[in-house]
Symmetry: D2
Subunit: 408 residues, 4 copies
């Protein structure tokens, strides 16, 4: 896995890679086959673990075949059956499922790894930012609004504000994490094939058996069971929105760092700036730049998921569904890369509190508002004019601690 077009992509490792998707698809087939056997729908002889039947280099073959079928599942089922050889396992494999069941569930399984990785990064960021907010709780600096000097703040408050956005994004992520659901609907969401198999085997209440198969498969995969969402795609858009809410929070932080590390401001610096191919003195805020890049492109990917959701039609859609896969992959990987870069960025952030202080002391009009207040209420302006800065930092730190405890 390498990507010259998206420096840092290797941070995402194999997450949402072809191989990860392949393994997740096979995991779904395996769980379903096991459920069929456990429920007595398929005979015990049909139980063969299938997860070891594929190799990483199968993705190439499957990928090439996928176009003819419109998705990679049909080819995978053929491949697995071929490798299972003759017998009950090959005969029962995939029976009752449709390709969308397998691919949707595999995407969900792959996304779960992404979400777990992101939550790790978010937790690390929360820890770093708590430390920064604590350490610089009282480090006064200029507050800026619409690019201009406004009133004083402390760097602790700025760190707490970043932290607040990150905790908020993380909580959104947790919410979608716990609601991840398997897709088990069959050809048109009715579970007709599964129920038919149950009937043919003489089981009582075939529809209930089919629903139970969904539940046991989902359970085996650690996912929620829910009625088929082939054409109601809010489970997909919810993940997309949560991911973008993360890149928003990181983009905001990175924009602040990029701004405050301008030489004329110089209040922040990345721990290790990137070099220039021609100017050795330069220390570019490379992580910030790369995080900003992600934040600029991911909202449009999430919009594509919504457009796909809105464009579904019939019992399974004619293009809208297909638009989701790579969009989710790109969105997820970019979020992982940006998340990991942000973790490094905040961990290594260098804070020049003296420069902050100097700028504050030299700023013009920074206490004009304070003076106006004296004009309103009478009396004399006094003190550092930091208002509830400290209380706010404490409130955010408390929320952050709760988050860390709840996700420990």
């Amino acid at each position: 896995v390498s990507d010259l077009f998206w420096p840092g992509d290797e941070r995402a490792g194999g997450l949402m890679s072809d191989v990860a998707l392949l393994r997740a698809m096979v995991a779904m087939e395996d769980a379903w086959l096991a459920s069929l056997v456990a429920a007595g729908v398929a005979p015990a002889t049909a139980r063969r673990p299938v997860q070891d039947l594929v190799r990483a280099d199968d993705v190439d073959t499957l990928s090439r075949r996928a176009e003819a079928d419109g998705n990679p599942v049909t080819g995978l089922v053929a491949l697995l059956r071929e490798r299972l050889g003759e017998g009950d396992a090959a005969r029962w494999l995939h029976r009752g499922l449709t390709s969308q069941d397998v691919l949707d569930t595999a995407l969900v399984l792959s996304l779960r790894e992404v979400l777990d990785r992101l939550l790790d990064d978010l937790r690390a960021q929360v820890r770093s930012l708590r430390a920064l907010a604590e350490q610089h709780r009282a480090a006064a600096m200029v507050g800026r609004t619409l690019t201009q000097h406004a009133v004083p703040i402390t760097f602790g408050l700025k760190a707490a504000s970043w932290l607040s956005g990150i905790v908020e994004a993380a909580e959104g992520l947790r919410l979608v994490r716990v609601r991840l659901a398997a897709q088990v609907g069959g050809a048109a969401g009715t579970l007709a094939a599964a129920a038919e198999l149950a009937r043919l085997q003489g089981l009582a209440d075939p529809p209930a058996v089919a629903v139970a198969l969904r539940a046991s498969t989902a359970g085996a995969l650690g996912l929620e069971a829910r009625t088929s969402w082939h054409t109601t795609r809010s489970p997909v858009t919810a993940v997309g929105d949560a991911l973008v809410t993360c890149t928003d929070a990181w983009g905001h932080l990175a924009s602040d760092v990029a701004t405050l590390s301008r030489p004329e401001i110089g209040e922040l610096a990345e721990g290790r700036g990137g070099g220039s191919s021609t100017m050795p003195h330069k220390q570019n805020p490379v992580l910030s730049v790369l995080v900003r890049r992600a934040a600029l492109t991911t909202p449009q990917l999430a919009a594509s998921l919504h457009l796909a959701s809105a464009g579904t039609v019939d019992e399974r859609p004619d293009g809208a569904w297909h638009a989701e896969w790579a969009t989710l992959r790109d969105l997820a990987r970019r979020a992982v890369v940006a998340g990991s870069q942000t973790t490094d960025l905040v961990a290594g952030l260098r804070v020049d509190t003296e420069r902050m202080r100097a700028t504050l002391d030299a700023a013009v009009g920074l206490y004009a508002e304070q003076g106006s207040m004296a004009g309103v209420a009478g009396g004399e302006p006094s003190g550092p004019y930091l208002g509830a800065t400290d209380l706010t930092i404490t409130a955010v730190l408390t929320r952050a601690r709760t988050f860390l405890e709840e996700t420990a």
Copy 2:
């Protein structure tokens, strides 16, 4: 309010209109002034209700002035002070707030009306769709995937599937509805001016007083109090995402109706189709068409909110914030119009179960899968091949009833 460019816009009435925003801004100024007085920060003589001081036709003046200030609040404060005349109310008005506090809170108040209106419509849709799903629970029709005939479903299942998407969207909307928060941060989010005023009045613990002012103002407006979110904009993007999740669900439903009302299919028809300027025989599925229009344009508006969120910088941003206002307005109004149209659409939907039955009976290969299952498990295909259709409908109806009860 009229809009030749967006037929049906009048359904949104005054929601998120200039006048609504003006009144909401004044409501915020009023609540804040009352809190200042109640807390003893401002003298009792400063308490003057300001809500009646503006008229609808002030929006014109304020709008013209807004560009010079970059937002409409500065002009509004000047106008209110002028109308209050000399005295304590004019002197104390707005003290401690910044323009973003007023505008953000006003937008939240305006959005609350939008969300309430949408929840009404969603509840109406849920009721109509429950009735449709019940009534047509067993009305068999062709299930279609990738535009082609697949296996049988019932129209009740299709209605339940729409219903499921709509309940999901409605629950997302409720979630953002209860979390709507006031914005009270002062110039740079520190509440410095408010605390300074408290100090000048000799109150104990001025920062705590400032925080209490935020709480009492938020409480008076029926909003949550939270630390300043001037630059952490997930409260805004969460509303946008929830609105788009609604238009997604409606767009999906409308696409289905538009497709199934094609003359060659003829299984559904809008209660009252739109005419043609030149072809009197035509019955266009106008509501579906207009709902689809909304679903096609709103995801990009929500993406703009995310881009604005990611692009915030400093203590208050230099353009990103300004991009939110009209985007939220357009997104909210389009959602309201589409929601109202969808309510009419589902209420008036005509279902031709005979045509459904006829198409089903004529369909080729619809039971091929059923035959395959017999090939796998042995035995003979039998029955209508509807699997867990009935159980699924029941599950969705149960969820819908719970939703209606919880929101009653």
Copy 3:
């Protein structure tokens, strides 16, 4: 026309307003009726000017009616016929057209006014930027890359770079301006009704008559005639793309101004900054902020036009077309407002060349690259290290002059 949600909106005046659209629709009906009569398809008695039959306050009625028909044309035709009273004009009005013909052409006519207004602004900007580039041709300043100091440039070069982007955008606009075409296709793009009328009147070669009617109508309106583009929407997306290319160029310029007017940098300032509701000392770069706002939201509007274009189906589409109208309106008005604001911004821009010089002199490592070159080629670094700055400025100025001459 006022808009609290989009400060500065009044700069767009009546462009792309409901009234402008109404008048443009009537202009189309008028031109078509005149063509019918001139070609002998309709009798001379059918020739009645219709442009004065509508009033501004008709938009309200038409707007309310538009939803039932799915567009405002059907209602307009009914209104015009009613006002024409009995007789040939009422009978012949609109015959041969479909509502999309009228609305598409009206949008094109409205957009033409927008493009002309934008070209005026672009010309004004080109003049201002030429003057800035000339005046500050040699005013050395720090060149910045990835936020850090790189090598010297002059402010003249920066102005020339902005100018280059603006000329490029303007040339794109001219290109779409000259290609604006009328829409005349009839119900399904065949001109069947027009040809039928010609046949019924006994004219020779009715299809050729119909095509000639299209040509004469387009000619009367000053538009290109082309085969019906009901479902091939690149004429629409081309306008959208050209508009966004303008807001891109302005957004870039405004971002530079916002950055360089930060107090720590202070090299540029808007002629007249906006105030703060609470901090009288602040001079916010309001125009830059408002222009940036437009640049952040317009790309998504242009994307909506492309999505609509890609989503067309049949002979006239079921929602995709309807999504274009308000999108075009919003995109066009925002471009006009941003264009006008940019004109003011560059006209009033204050350039602090002393501050530029001082920053340059204090910058660290700015000539490191120059030293490296001496290391490569031998010899000693010397001179201001401005390379082809002057030649580049001259090249851009030449191109700008050509543009001004060609559009004079």
Copy 4:
């Protein structure tokens, strides 16, 4: 190259791949080094071809290193110098360039291959559609508007309409193809290093030498020379817009095919439909579905390019530029895949003119408009009511022939 997430991706082969980008970057370094020597800026001993110094598997190393530098160029230069060993070539390589020069030019070179490939496909489509329009010029079918039957058309007209959109898109592509320009600006767009080297070598008029180096490098690469466009990105957005205009045209065509191949309509069928994993009878319109997928996602990618363009700041931007690379890659590859699929789609399209005829004969009210015209003009309705269908087809075919001749 395989992609399970985007079936059909292998159609794009190595276009815009990591290896293609690597080779294009090296081509740029090579052309520049040759120009330096040819101009007498570098000594003849510095001329060493560098194109064979890299291997496909270098992309992995370069990709991993790219993050630290923020782009892959710095690592590439180091690698090439290492492989050149000691000597003049290593010393002179890349002197005068900045990383953005190399990467921008490499992207342009890679895009040129994409555009050429697309133009081949567009030409093939034009040929197929011409044949379809000719063959079915008179094959009457129902014209549909807003999903409903309107008036008759012929399938030749529909094919001509698709053709018209495709020729239009192709002409836009040609326009950007001929304007592709090299990027040669040096660290901040001034060509200072190149001019400095010329000065150190004692050449006359060093700035002019630097500009001439740009021209000769561009010429050697077959690209236009233009003043540096580091921060004026319309050359990038123009490519994006042209690509999306293609996917729009294909998406429209594919939507029509998907609709008309519904079993209830059955007028069109893909030459070879895709199978189902569980329903052997199904013939899914797979190519249409996959093309629609592209059309649904590419507009947002083009919007990202515009956002990047609008977000540039300074002499080289802090994230906006970096957002372009993968966006361009994805947009370009998806366009190539969709283009190739559309070529197959139109080449293999099966047209059921009998079914068209039958639907037309059974349609209700299809001649109602014709009757109305008789009511207006007097006389009797007569004939097939196809208006200028034939003339329109001829006009489009003529334009298509011109296009083919001009691009032969």
